[in-house]
């Protein structure tokens, strides 16, 4: 009799674990709201010398306290590529709200004259399902600028 009760108890624990886990997984799965919005993008230096600095000013709104990771790359017109330092944060450093951020990036001296682009690919994650299974992504930000002149 007590064995039967124990059996029922175990069955109850296992079933509630299954249902609870799947319920939480569903709750997290259904959440696809991107936590960061870019309101405005302004290229302060539309023309850059090779070896010079590219300055971009963005107005960013943080609506959720989530982890962010942005891969940033520079491409030039002659297939050169430079990876910039990633943006990594566990929570928005200044908290929620709207902020203006200015990026100052070095354009490499081997970039050749022509159309160049700055690309930012953001990946956000607000819960464990995002982190390990299905991250929140947005279309990458492409900011075009011109490289002109010689390095020195």
């Amino acid at each position: 009799m007590s064995l039967r009760i124990f059996g029922y108890g175990c069955l109850g624990v296992i079933c509630s674990a299954i249902l609870g886990t799947s319920g939480m997984a569903c709750y997290w799965l259904a959440d696809r709201h991107i936590p960061v919005e870019v309101i405005r993008t302004e290229v302060v230096t539309p023309v850059v010398k090779p070896g010079g600095k590219l300055i971009i000013r963005q107005t960013i709104r943080y609506t959720r306290e989530c982890r962010g990771h942005v891969d940033r790359v520079l491409y030039d017109s002659r297939t050169h590529r430079k990876f910039l330092v990633d943006v990594d944060y566990e929570r928005p450093p200044r908290g929620l709200g709207e902020f203006v951020v200015t990026f100052v990036e070095d354009v490499p001296s081997y970039f050749e004259a022509g159309e160049a682009s700055y690309r930012a690919i953001p990946v956000y994650s607000c819960n464990i399902v995002h982190q390990y299974l299905w991250p929140l992504t947005r279309d990458e930000t492409i900011i075009r600028f011109k490289v002109e002149g010689t390095p020195f």
């Binding site: 296992i14 079933c15 799965l29 259904a30």
Partner: protein, 162 residues
């Protein structure tokens, strides 16, 4: 048999016409004093059995040609009802190996067998419950994924504008 048994003679106590002969009366007198021995063979045995059978539930009549079974078997047959006969036939139809196997078991083992069967049945029920729960969970998760991919957030109501 306590009483001696004398087969009925058709002509008993019927005096035919004729002179009274001392020899006949002498014979009768002798017969009156004598106790005939119990005869257990042949016609007498048959008649004895007929006497016993007369009160059986199935009685085929006075002139039946059937020889009855011994009393213990007659008692068995008389005590069996229709469902009992079906059960009896099922018992006979059992595999001899089954009967040997059961006869080798003692009471404790047979009670444990009950417990084992109960354990198996309850395990199967538990497995069925788990199957249903897992099926429900998988269906729920699949549904939420499908809805999410098409842009609908099922939990937006309880999420409260996060």
């Amino acid at each position: 048999m306590s009483q001696s048994y004398r087969p009925p003679r058709g002509d008993e106590n019927v005096r035919t016409k004729g002179p009274r002969v001392p020899v006949e009366s002498f014979g009768e007198g002798m017969r009156a004093c004598m106790q005939l021995p119990d005869r257990g063979i042949g016609e007498d045995q048959l008649e004895r059995v007929r006497q016993e059978v007369r009160h059986d539930p199935v009685y085929l009549g006075e002139n039946a040609q059937v020889v009855a079974f011994p009393p213990h078997l007659r008692r068995l047959f008389a005590s069996m009802s229709e469902p009992d006969v079906d059960r009896f036939e099922k018992l006979l139809a059992l595999d001899p190996k089954t009967i040997v196997w059961i006869s080798e078991k003692n009471t404790k083992e047979l009670t444990n067998l009950d417990g084992a069967v109960e354990f198996i049945t309850s395990s199967r029920t538990a497995a069925r419950v788990l199957m249903w729960v897992c099926g429900t969970a998988v269906a729920f998760v699949g549904g939420v994924v499908a809805l999410t991919k098409s842009g609908i957030d099922m939990f937006s109501i309880i999420r409260g504008g996060k």
